[in-house]
Symmetry: C2
Subunit: 558 residues, 2 copies
């Protein structure tokens, strides 16, 4: 038996998953909650946009989870030997860049910077750089339209250059001290491979292409002239970043002696190129052309792939269409919703925080209700809108309330709002020629929330299938490791054969109920009207309202 390990760096914790390469069976797993900050996130009560993470938590988590998973497997599986592990794959949230020194050490791990939030990892959901994002969008639209065309014509505050630039603007001492910056997904394999020079870190095309304007067409990262328009220091940084990024058929490096000893693994086993969690999650869900994979958790990511030989248009409002960002040989197409589980959590934990209010109770209360029977309509924008508006500066909306409207009814309206958002994405992809024959869902909601899944089926009119693995991201990373290990070592030579052997679907299937779908078609039309009016995509619109409210809010909080 040969196995691989998938390491999955999430928003609040890291997980190691030990997988049997023959059939994808998950032999052992271990989770480590990041100890720093609030649920692993460093926040700032004065700035709700700020979300950072302590890189030391990652290192501690690698050791804890791998050694724990291995020792559990040794206990549970007769004949299991850690020497059977033939590779490690890594996925993480992103864009989550880390400032590092010339030895590839995270600045936050140095005494001089350990208390400076800017020296830590800039977690994907950090939105402090929204002004820089708007400026990058403006400059790129004018000067380098080809750059933003691939990412929905709008650059996000969640992404690489916005964050680096905001660091330069807000905490120049950190920016100046950083020799380079590395995405979390690239940093971990490099650390495990013992890479001591940021210039030698093998970067994944997933993060590079989706978040940092990297593309073969223009020779890699953005040109220096463009970066100088943002700030000459960003242009100067370019030569300390990278010139080439790699797809997931590449090896990021080989496990170094030091980490091999720490983890109890064989030194020299290959490390797969890092990808973002949802991309390896798409692989773990069996993504192929014609299949949309929806990773449904706190937020949602929707992935599809299109053959490199196919002509694929730019799709307005789609976060990214990047060559080989998911699967080698295919364009990766990524869309997403900024708050899904987080939206339900907000309602339950922040608003309805009284005793005894739980997701389960709300679901039981409203699961028998007919669509539209509460007369409510909501927008799913409490954390902005990623697709198709690509606008962090949008906010939530609930309408239709009477004096009888209940907690549970609003809870259901929020679920429906995210389902309408999901349908917007599907319709946009199809309108631009991305084929969707099958939808496979993974993540906590797909696993545990039949009401939401049925509503998604009813709203979209599509059958919702669920990935067999409950840990598709880590499984995908483990599949990546099996591919870089190769068939000669007990792995596979390509993703097609690896996915065929190691992924599958659950028996449970959510099929649309036609009478509900008919009502949701009417409601979705109203959702689109309100979406377009407040999203600023129709004439004579209300697109200014949410933005002016945020302007006033910022003035009043300062």
């Amino acid at each position: 038996m040969k196995c691989t390990i998938g390491l999955d760096f999430g928003t609040n914790s890291v997980r190691a998953l030990l997988v049997d390469c023959r059939n994808g069976e998950e032999l052992a797993t271990s989770v480590f909650d990041y100890p720093s900050g609030h649920q692993g996130i460093l926040t700032d009560p004065k700035n709700s946009h700020l979300a950072r993470q302590n890189p030391a938590d990652y290192l501690e988590g690698i050791e804890y989870t791998i050694t724990t998973a291995l020792s559990e497997a040794e206990k549970a599986i007769p004949g299991f030997n850690p020497a059977d592990v033939i590779g490690i794959g890594v996925d993480s949230t992103g864009s989550s860049p880390i400032p590092v020194n010339a030895e590839n050490t995270a600045l936050a791990c140095l005494d001089a910077f350990k208390d400076n939030p800017a020296a830590h990892c800039w977690l994907w959901k950090d939105h402090t750089s929204y002004k820089e994002a708007a400026q990058i969008t403006e400059i790129a639209r004018k000067e380098r339209p080809q750059y933003v065309a691939k990412c929905g014509n709008t650059y996000s505050s969640e992404w690489w250059w916005s964050k680096l630039w905001h660091c330069l603007n807000s905490t120049p001492e950190v920016f100046d001290a950083a020799y380079s910056w590395v995405e979390l997904a690239d940093w971990v394999p490099a650390v495990l491979a013992g890479v001591k020079n940021p210039l030698e870190v093998k970067r994944g095309v997933c993060a590079a292409g989706h978040k940092a304007f990297y593309a073969d067409e223009w020779g890699g990262l953005p040109d220096e002239e463009f970066l100088s328009m943002l700030d000459p220091k960003l242009a100067a940084l370019k030569e300390r970043l990278y010139t080439k990024a790699y797809n997931a058929s590449e090896t990021a490096g080989y496990l170094c002696e030091k980490w091999a000893a720490k983890l109890g693994l064989k030194a020299g086993i290959p490390l797969a190129i890092g990808e973002f969690d949802v991309h390896y999650g798409a692989i773990g869900s069996g993504i192929k052309e014609g299949t949309l994979v929806k990773a449904m958790g706190t937020s949602t990511c929707d992935c599809s792939v299109v053959k490199l030989s196919d002509d694929i248009a730019d799709i307005p409002g789609i976060c990214g269409i990047v060559k080989e960002s998911i699967l080698p040989g295919f364009y990766g197409v990524e869309a997403g919703q900024s708050a899904v589980g987080d939206l339900f959590k907000w309602w339950v934990e922040v608003v309805c925080k009284g005793e005894g209010k739980t997701h389960k109770e709300f679901r039981e209360t409203v699961q028998q209700a007919k669509p539209g029977a509460a007369g409510l309509l909501a927008l799913d924008w409490n954390n902005g809108n990623r697709t198709v508006l690509v606008d962090q500066r949008l906010t939530g909306l609930i309408l239709g309330q009477t004096l009888h409207t209940s907690q549970a009814e609003i809870y259901r309206a929020l679920i429906e709002a995210t389902a309408y958002g999901a349908r917007m994405i599907i319709e946009r992809l199809e309108a631009y020629g991305v084929p969707i024959q099958t939808i496979v869902c993974c993540g906590g909601i797909a696993e545990k929330d039949p009401l939401t899944m049925q509503i998604y089926a009813d709203v979209t009119g599509r059958t919702m299938r669920v990935s067999r693995s409950a840990q598709t991201c880590a499984l995908g990373a483990a599949i990546g490791a099996a591919v870089v290990a190769g068939s000669g070592n007990g792995g596979y030579d390509d993703y097609d054969s690896a996915q065929a052997a190691m992924t599958g679907l659950k028996d449970m299937v959510y099929t649309p109920i036609e009478e509900n779908h008919a009502v949701y078609n009417r409601l979705f039309k109203l959702y689109k009207d309100v979406h377009d009016a407040f999203g600023g995509v129709c004439t004579n619109d209300l697109g200014h309202v949410m933005k002016e409210l945020l302007d006033i809010k910022e003035t009043q909080l300062n």
Copy 2:
């Protein structure tokens, strides 16, 4: 010492107030909670529009409250004698019509009808007749535009003809059994006067003019041809209603022997013409030309008066401009908001119903917040919009939420929403020439909620004053009684002198804070944008959204 009694029939209870005619001092009071239904209201779990009241509760309440107040006064005030009571005034909610038989007995008090909700009093907030209201609006706009011009060009489901017609359509057996219909405010004085024939009930011009299309210009109630367009049976009913309605300088009758004995009062003392609660409340708050009186409770009523000699235009969206409906010699101008305290109550009791969530706690949490600092904006339409849109089929809206938005922040946003609604009314009145030099507030919110009062001052940029009496409606009814008693009996010969002696203001005054007002000016502009879009009063609007949601809701609930 001469005294009068004001009887105030509210939504959940009736109050008797014994008042010293010399200075308005409130000598004794007693409250009786209606025993029937839920908090005195008969409801229907299958029809949230339905709200009825048991007329027997009114009769029981009169006896209980007057005898209790008198016996307390006898105990507390040396030398007080019930024979010093020189008159009774009555105010009530409205339009609250009661079907009666030929003896002026409420049908609900007869065994045959006691279990039929349609035979009870149709409480003001009963909205079952919204379809009839829409039809009346449509027919009147086309056939009798002068009728609807005086009530904002839209007839409400809260009003007389909608309710009578809906009774005819939905429960014809009750309509057919009703010899006549009498407004609660008219029915109580008639009962106390021993009037046994509905044709002899002296009707007040307040209810008639504001709710039943009554005006001198067209000779009283609507003509039979118009009523026939609704239903010939309504036309046939007309001759069993009334031909003349009276202002508050008139006597409705004199206390009959039977009720005098029951109450321990002198028979033959005058009963003032009944008016709606807010109208007598306006009198009890010292209304005069240039003064806007805001009665702020579960809903809000805004009253002003304009001299009969002045030329007063129709004001679009104003519920009613009726000759002498408040003060003799003046037009009464009435506007209002359908949910104010009810909106806050919805948030606290229906949504945030967990342990320990109270109005007080929410207020304490948000009272120091700067305007706009939560980034929220709400519409105050959970119970429809009375002024200036006159549309029951509008619903609530909250926008600007993030994943951090708290219960208390939304609570404050709802307060602000009602303040914007209040400002819409003020601006509309002034735009059409109604002078507003002074604003006097009364009711529970004015008495007990300094945060809301300050927000109203800040949003409107106006000083908010508070009426001295906490029971302005009952006080106004008592003033009406003092006027019909006349100076010869220890009362007054006109409202001017009665109000001067018997009303006053509290010391507490809410003055606008200029920096808050400046921010609220920006927020109010956004409120107006959203108000106009969803209210359907601008081009390319979203006016269809709430209505289609309600259509879908009704379909799905049936």
